[in-house]
Amino acid sequence: MRVLVIVPAYNEERNLPGVLRALHEHAPFADVCVVDDGSSDATAEVAASHGATVLQAPINLGIGGAMQTGYLWAQRRGYDAAVQIDGDGQHDPRFIPAALAPLRDGVADVVIGSRFLGEDAGGFRSTAARRAGIRYLCWLLRLTNGVRVTDPTSGFRATGRAAIALYAKSYPSDYPEPEAIAVAQRSGLRVVEVPVRMAAREHGESSIGTLGALYYFVKVSLSILLLPGAP
């Protein structure tokens, strides 16, 4: 199984080396591509010096457009599976084999790494306000799409060929994670979760502030509610 790890990175020169080293150590079988769209720091150079393929876009695409670039690349290069890992060090590449297992067994098309699954409670689980938001999203996804997930905002995902093709064609923009689940479900793909541990971000700020949270809430709700049915 040829695996491509897609790492979206926007001004992540400080976090990226650790992520790429960990990838090399825990997922040596996978090719790594870093999507850098308009970082003002040395993200691209850092990525290249660690042997990753750099997909460098001249203008900022947002996280959705950046992820889609990775999926387009995976499709073009004929990878069997793609794994999304944040470039900020929140995700542990140790869990990549576990995330790939359901794809390999042919029981899933999209695998989400959930920090809320498994007995091994611990690691980073975000703030109370965010957890409330996450519960709301779970409820919304179950209501509108009948899909049961515990961690809809997780950016740790593994996808098989069918999902790569789907996401290369249509991947949501702005805050894409919950909507991407709905998109997959509507297209008849199977979504499952595996337990993972996450860490708090090492350097720099998360992109979502208080006002951003409101926009997030409205945007993600609307996009899920307005999503057209299966093609």
């Binding site: 591509c33 999507v35 769209d37 393929t53 750099v54 997909l55 460098q56 876009a57 001249p58 203008i59 695409l61 457009g65 889609q68 670039t69 387009l72 690349w73 073009r76 923009s173």
Partner: protein, 130 residues
């Protein structure tokens, strides 16, 4: 119903707008496609200005008491319609630009790959200059 001079002024302004749009299309600064909504809605506005009784009929049909209010309503519709067309056009453009940008990123990566492969097969830089 509309004073004659006001009517003339209205038609003149609308005609000027129409000619301007057509001229922009002719000189290639606005595509015909994007201009269509302006052309159609401006022609409609001219028809209403020349035949205000159409407006009165419309106002009557919609039970608007003062015909000029129907005019305002129409004017707002005119602006909204053209704004909406613009919004659609920008969204379409944004999607196309995103796709192009992604293509750029991938082509760049392929180019880097080719370069790296070539510099490996020709390790000595002097081999290139000879």
């Amino acid at each position: 119903m509309i004073p004659f001079r006001l009517q003339v002024a209205g038609v003149v302004v609308l005609l000027a707008l129409l000619l301007w749009v057509l001229w922009l299309v002719r000189t290639g600064r606005v595509s015909l496609r994007e201009s269509l909504s302006w052309v159609l809605s401006t022609v409609a506005a001219i028809v209403f200005t020349i035949h205000p009784e159409l407006l009165a009929a419309l106002a009557h049909a919609l039970q608007i008491e003062v015909a000029s209010n129907a005019l305002f309503a129409l004017a707002i519709l005119y602006v909204l319609w053209n704004l909406m067309t613009l919004t659609i056009a920008t969204s379409v453009n944004a999607r196309k630009i995103r796709r192009l940008t992604q293509e750029c990123a991938m082509l760049r990566a392929e180019l880097e790959e080719q370069r790296a492969a070539r510099s490996q097969s020709q390790p000595s830089p002097t081999g290139e200059s000879s």
